[in-house]
Structure formats: structure tokens, C-alpha cells
């Protein structure tokens, strides 16, 4: 079980996390962030395996990856 937290202020909506998530758990939001980008959004359906591929590709280091049982 895993999850990610996206820093919406820093995200620039590049979609690199989106295309590399093996579980397709990330999409771009409809909303604009203060810098004018559509930030990434985590679709938390319990399938995230904390693989960190999204983290590896994020040019803005806007993603944190968490692992383990939810508390």
C-alpha cells in the first residue's frame, strides 16, 4: 500500500508522472495553480505500490512517495 503527495504549487503539469505511473494513478487537474499550470492529481484508489517512478521523473520534485499501512 502506498500513496503520493503532490505539491500543487510546485507542480508544472508536465505530465511526466502521469505517463510513467504503471498504475495510471495520476492525472492533471482541471484547475490552474497560481503559476497558471494544471497540476497533477493523485487518484488514490489503493493501488499505488510506492514504486516511485513518478518521483523519479518529476522535474519539480513535487512528489512525495509514502509506503506502508495507512494509519
Amino acid at each position: 500500500m502506498g500513496k503520493i503527495i503532490i505539491n500543487i504549487e510546485q507542480c508544472k503539469g508536465c505530465k511526466l508522472c502521469v505517463i510513467f505511473c504503471p498504475k495510471q494513478l495520476i492525472k492533471l487537474s482541471e484547475k490552474l495553480n497560481p503559476a497558471g499550470y494544471h497540476p497533477a492529481e493523485f487518484i488514490d484508489n489503493g493501488q499505488c505500490n510506492s514504486c516511485g517512478l513518478c518521483y523519479q521523473m518529476c522535474p519539480d520534485v513535487a512528489i512525495e512517495v509514502w509506503k506502508g499501512e495507512k494509519r
Binding site: K12, L32, P34, A35, G36
Partner: protein, 177 residues
């Protein structure tokens, strides 16, 4: 007669294009005009703005600290520049991207839902033209017809296909007020 307009918005909102267009139209009106772009500290992304000065006298510096008009395409631009607008100046703001209420003393504020209007025309990218149209209507510093002519020239052959949509957006903005 002297107008000092700052246009500001996100990169990609067509600020520079609208500014150039206004400058071109003013030139064709036989006026003196300067256009000055500014990318601020951030070369990439972030906000962009430009200054257009139109006058029947000689123009000194093309950069102004206190414009007579502000055309703000988004909220952060409004925040950045609104306090600098001259007393009795004009602010036109794209209300589609505005969340907060605004209130500034001694300045006239015109809210235009430019992005929405542009989207209705088929492409939110022409929100810049909507705002510009509104400004032209308000200031009468150049005529709409002249601006339409200039549009053709500034777009040139290469972007001829965009002419119609941009014209409609200009018109829409001009009519709106």
C-alpha cells in the same frame, strides 16, 4: 494625449501579441508609440508583461512605473500592478480567472470575463483580444477598424488563418462595453 498601458498575464496568454497589435494600430493612426516587453526575473514560465505608450508628443522612456491603464489577464498580474496605476486610471481585468474581490481607490475597474467569452468563440487563447477590444472601446485611443487592419499585418501571411477568430474576439471585447 498620452496613454500608458501595461498588459500583464501568464506566459502563453498572448500579452506580447496584444501589445504589439495595439502599438501597430497606434502607429497607423499616425501617433507616436513605443512598445516594451518585460520578462521579469523569470525568463521561463511565470508572468509576462509589456508596456505600450501612445502619444501625440515625443515619448521618452518606453518604460513606465505608473501606467494610466492596466490590462490584467490574471489575478497575479492584477496584484502585481494594480497599486501602480495612476489616480483616475483604468484597470481592465479578466474576471474569468479572478477569485478574490478587488477594490482599489481612485481607479476605474472594468471586469471582463474574457476567457469565458473567448471560449465561447471557440478558443480561450483569444481572451487577449477580448480584453484589448474592451480597452479600445473605452479609451478610443485607436479605432477598432484600424486595429482590425493592423491585425492582418501583424499576423502576416503565416498566421492568416487566425485572423477571423482574433477579429471576432476583438469585436466581442469592443462590444462588451
Amino acid at each position: 494625449m498620452r496613454e500608458e498601458i501595461i498588459m500583464a498575464g501568464f506566459g502563453g496568454q498572448g500579452i506580447m501579441f496584444a501589445g504589439t497589435l495595439l502599438a501597430h494600430a497606434a502607429m497607423e493612426e499616425g501617433l507616436n508609440v513605443t512598445y516594451f516587453p518585460s520578462y521579469g526575473a523569470e525568463m521561463r514560465g511565470g508572468t509576462a508583461n509589456c508596456t505600450v505608450i501612445i502619444s501625440d508628443e515625443n515619448i521618452g522612456s518606453p518604460v513606465v512605473t505608473n501606467p494610466s491603464a492596466l490590462l490584467a489577464m490574471n489575478e497575479s498580474s492584477l496584484e502585481k500592478f494594480s497599486s501602480k496605476v495612476k489616480k483616475d486610471g483604468l484597470i481592465i481585468v479578466n474576471s474569468s480567472l479572478l477569485k478574490k474581490e478587488i477594490k482599489i481607490n481612485d481607479v476605474e475597474i472594468l471586469k471582463i470575463p474574457a476567457t469565458e467569452l473567448a471560449e465561447k468563440l471557440g478558443d480561450n487563447k483569444v481572451a487577449n483580444m477580448v480584453i484589448l477590444g474592451a480597452y479600445i472601446n473605452r479609451s478610443k485611443v485607436v479605432s477598432l477598424e484600424r486595429t482590425m487592419d493592423s491585425l492582418k499585418k501583424v499576423l502576416g501571411e503565416g498566421r492568416k488563418n487566425l485572423l477571423k477568430l482574433n477579429r471576432e474576439a476583438l469585436k466581442k471585447g469592443e462590444e462588451n462595453r
